[in-house]
């Protein structure tokens, strides 16, 4: 005997981008359509080192469920991931490793610094801790909190989605972006 089938009627579809549509077709710009697609299928790379990593685990867990925002799959290989989620303290010993992981990611790539330590060093103002990961790699979104609540991490991811959605496809070729990477010594 089969179980009664229940359909989820609460599914929220992504909004159609602006464009010209007629019967059987829809025309819009690449920017918008690719932005929308990217936005809703981000592959995060969790770079969890300490306490924030545990809160990140809670974010992935059943109660908060990061998968609702299209980030179902945690990729553990930098080559295939879009968003680098740095959760936790990055010590100076770890700095080069983080940079290496960032370099291994393919463009377009985004970075979220989750928690006070990743953003600014947090309470660990000591000789061994990197005072914010933005000293070694560019960061797109900072999430505050020590550790941030799962809701805050979700908001950080949503902010990234906003960025992804609105980003011009040519941004990565712009002089501004090149200068930014140059300032970090990344070619």
């Amino acid at each position: 005997m089969g179980r009664p089938v229940q359909y989820n009627t609460n599914v929220k579809l992504a909004e159609m981008p602006e464009g010209y549509s007629g019967e059987g077709f829809m025309a819009t710009s690449f920017d918008k359509i690719i932005g929308m697609a990217r936005k809703n299928s981000l592959w995060p790379l969790p770079f969890a080192t300490s306490c924030c990593g545990i809160e990140f685990m809670a974010t992935m867990g059943a109660n908060y469920d990061l998968a609702r925002f299209g980030s179902e799959r945690m990729g553990f290989t930098p080559r295939q991931c879009d968003v680098l989620l740095v959760a936790g303290t990055i010590a100076k010993k770890m700095g080069p490793v983080l940079r290496q992981v960032y370099l291994q990611m393919a463009e377009p790539r985004w970075v979220v610094a989750i928690g006070a330590c990743a953003s600014s060093g947090g309470i660990f103002d000591s000789y061994s801790v990197l005072q914010g990961i933005d000293q070694v790699i560019p960061v797109d979104v900072y999430v505050s909190g020590c550790p941030p609540r799962p809701e805050a991490i979700l908001e950080g991811v949503m902010k990234i989605q906003e960025l992804v959605n609105n980003e011009s496809l040519r941004r990565r070729n712009s002089d501004h972006y090149k200068a930014l990477l140059e300032s970090y010594g990344i070619q």
Binding site: P46, F47, A48, T49, S50, C51, G53, I54, E55, M57, A58, G61, A62, N63, M74, F76, G88, T89, I90, A91, K93, M94, V97, V101, I123, F124, D125, S126, Y127, S128, V129, C146, P147, R149
Partner: protein, 413 residues
């Protein structure tokens, strides 16, 4: 040999041995933290491992020398962040021991309650992660809902989920709210069913057993020599538990068993932790009952949540701070860390979720410790890892690491 291979230099030795060097970590997804192991493997068999630690060294001990006593509690949170309250309470107990404070029974039972809840949450992480590493994600997502409830209880008590900064010298910063008690009762009622299901899913699961039994074993003698404590030592067959050996915070009033294993492999560690979860749950129940008895005998006890003689070390109520001069002065002095602690040298240890968490404190009477050293169980027992995985399979090494429950924050201090 194809042409492009020619410039790769291989020493004669490694060609003859045909072994592979595998860099496991520091950001390997299977290591759950930042541990680097350079493994020498022959096919699937691990021949040797070289460890590197310190990837999140945060200089706790140096920072502790520059912080007044109450500001060190947040540091202890971040040692073993899976069971932060145990570290908090251990630190408070160290200062209380230094001051010679005696706590009321109700406060001690409240502490026991919280410590056991956090032990449950820590063991749940460890065991569900072992299950994840054997390929079963279900248990993990399932028990995490109940860990969320424990976090909610913490939140009710101290306002924070993970890094709790819970309690003060002499007791708690505030009394448990009614909602907290409701949530504790909800946990006591609902959790056994879930835990039972979790156990049913894994304990006698043929695949799980085949993966775990015999993986990463260590015998009692080696374990003691390596300084193992906590569940990992008990899994090797030594029934040593600080809660019994040197009872603190009125653990002697509670009735609980200390589970032990036999060969100290992954399966033993898993079972020991599972039984400990049940025992902790029983202690939580007993604590709730004992607190209820105390309150029944003397309703005035309901408002006792710190030792009366610890007034000097306890923040005055917030209303008083805003309305009364003395309270404001006290509050100010305390925040500035001007409350002196007598000079002395003390070692106090509590049974953390991973083993003996020790605080070696030298006070010279100043506002900050002269020297504070944390005995971090992970740091000490993680050095046995290469010996445990030697000769085993690579996949055994992964589950051995997760079943040791090495917490990077505690390891690297």
């Amino acid at each position: 040999m194809s042409e492009h291979n020619q410039h790769i230099q291989l020493s004669d030795e490694s060609v003859a041995k045909q072994t592979t060097t595998l860099n496991l970590g520091p950001t390997h997804p299977a290591t759950h933290g930042v541990f680097e192991n350079i493994l020498e493997i022959d096919g699937e068999k691990v021949l040797s491992a070289k460890q590197t630690v310190g990837y999140i060294h945060r200089a706790f001990e140096k920072i502790a020398e520059r912080r007044p006593y109450y500001q060190i509690t947040p540091l202890t949170d971040r040692l073993n962040y899976c069971s932060a309250p145990i570290n908090n309470m251990g630190w408070h107990m160290t200062i209380e021991k230094l001051l010679g404070l005696k706590l009321p029974k109700r406060v001690e039972y409240m502490r026991v309650l919280i410590m056991e809840l956090s032990r449950i949450s820590d063991h749940l992480i460890c065991n569900s992660v072992v299950a994840v590493d054997t390929g079963a994600l279900t248990g993990f997502t399932y028990v995490f809902q109940w860990r969320e409830l424990i976090y909610e209880i913490y939140e009710e008590i101290c306002g924070s989920r993970l890094t709790t900064n819970m309690g003060r010298v002499g007791g708690f910063e505030r009394n448990f709210s009614d909602v907290a008690w409701q949530k504790i009762n909800k946990f006591i009622e609902g959790f056994p069913k879930v835990m039972k299901e979790f156990e049913d899913l894994f304990t006698r699961n043929r695949i799980f057993m085949d993966r775990c039994i015999g993986a990463g074993p260590i015998n009692a003698e080696r374990a003691l020599n390596y300084g193992f404590t906590g569940p990992n030592l008990r899994a090797a067959g030594v029934d040593y538990d600080l809660r019994v050996a040197e009872p603190y915070s009125s653990y002697e009033d509670f009735d609980f068993k200390i589970p032990t294993g036999t060969i100290g492999d992954v399966y033993d560690r898993y079972l020991v932790r599972n039984v400990e979860i049940w025992e902790s749950l029983s202690i939580v129940k007993q604590a709730v009952q004992k607190i209820a008895e105390i309150e029944k005998a003397d309703p005035a006890q309901k408002n006792i949540f710190y030792a009366p003689e610890s007034d000097k070390y306890h923040f005055p109520p917030k209303e008083d701070v805003y309305t009364k001069m003395e309270a404001l002065i006290y509050h100010f002095k305390m925040v500035m860390g001007e409350i002196a602690v007598p000079p002395g040298e003390i070692y106090h240890a509590v049974e953390g979720a991973n083993g003996e968490v020790g605080y070696y404190l030298i006070s010279d009477g100043g506002r900050t410790p002269y020297r504070l050293h944390f005995r971090r169980p992970c740091f000490i027992y993680y050095q046995a890892f290469p010996e445990m995985i030697k000769g085993g399979l690579l996949s055994d090494a992964i589950i051995a690491l997760s079943s040791l429950n090495v917490i990077a924050g505690e390891l690297d201090a």
